[in-house]
Subunit: 204 residues, 2 copies
């Protein structure tokens, strides 16, 4: 757990009495982080909540960390500069890890455009518990949906550094799953995620 | 949920389908934040884990956020300057809130010496779900225990700004509970916390 980039000294690691394994036994399922990534308007937040609905109906312990929601709380002191975007994703990965240790299945729904940042989140999770889900949808479909009118603002130059317009989106190279919300409906995409979690033994 | 100090714009609040109340019904108990505060060596981390053991044995959903532990992850980019200490506590409060929304009973074990910072954590929690537990122990008892040898270093001037030595500790004025680890044993203190949670209707 020690890391060379830990800023504070004089701290020691306190191992709790209750292990993740013990919690998972109580919960009846394994913990995991399902990391949705995709363009704004790709439907990742909607999909994350739909998957949560289905997991909750099965009695699973769940949480959705939503890119928009978390910015009102934990990350309200971050903007959209490159450093702030990086720190945004770093914190979310760490929170997902805490939830994972607590035996919870965490869905994160963020654009998270950079491979490097997503890989940092992957690396801190236990082996086999990180599911990168690429929510694929063509840019023109996302721009057509434009649920928050952000593409319109970006095209008008009112928002700078908008992913897909004047900032890059790095598609996952080896995601655990690709779902296409342009060609499949919500239920179909959610079923793909549930099937993947079942196949990996996270849920029954 | 909107706040004037939110740095980013163009974000909207996405209400999840599953409410805290629905989660609490599934879990069989209410969520809460039990915020332990006290001097280094007062035994708050040990107490937090003991309370968690007892809650877990009752099938409750729990997590301990530990001052030392969390600094290896979420807050590893923070030191012990006044601003960093403030940000440390702020982030922890926000994470406790996320766990609370997920229906989990969160124990936080930090020195958290400043009233203002603790009050910020209190304010973002739902009414009646924040339990400030003042883990009282005389300074000389804490210094005698000195489990990590920190008081010794502070007295030798090797650590600056150490709470209780050359930095203040602001004792809670109206905590929900005071436990004294100088005069009571661990089990007795843990029972006091459990009783308080029962009396408040958080657990049965």
């Amino acid at each position: 757990m020690m890391s060379s980039d830990v800023k504070s000294t004089n701290i020691t690691w306190h191992q709790g009495d209750i292990t993740r394994e013990a919690r998972e036994k109580l919960h009846g399922h394994q913990s995991a982080c399902v990391w949705f990534t995709g363009l704004s308007g790709s439907g990742q937040s909607t999909l994350a909540h739909e998957v949560e609905n289905q997991l909750f109906a099965k009695g699973c312990w769940t949480i959705v960390l939503d890119g928009d929601n978390i910015r009102f709380g934990l990350n309200k002191n971050l903007g959209f500069s490159p450093e702030d975007r990086k720190e945004n994703i770093r914190r979310i990965g760490e929170v997902a890890k805490l939830f994972s240790e607590a035996g919870v299945i965490t869905m994160t729904a963020f654009i998270s455009p950079y491979k490097e940042d997503r890989d940092i989140a992957r690396e801190i999770m236990p082996e086999g518990r990180f599911f990168e889900v690429y929510v694929e949808a063509p840019l023109d479909v996302c721009e057509e949906r434009d649920p928050k009118g952000l593409y319109k603002k970006a095209r008008a130059g009112e928002i700078k550094g908008f992913t897909g317009i004047d900032a890059p989106y790095e598609a996952p190279e080896k995601p655990e799953l690709v779902v296409n919300t342009g060609s499949s409906d919500l239920k179909t995409c959610a079923k793909q995620v549930m099937d993947a979690l079942m196949k990996a033994g996270i849920i029954k």
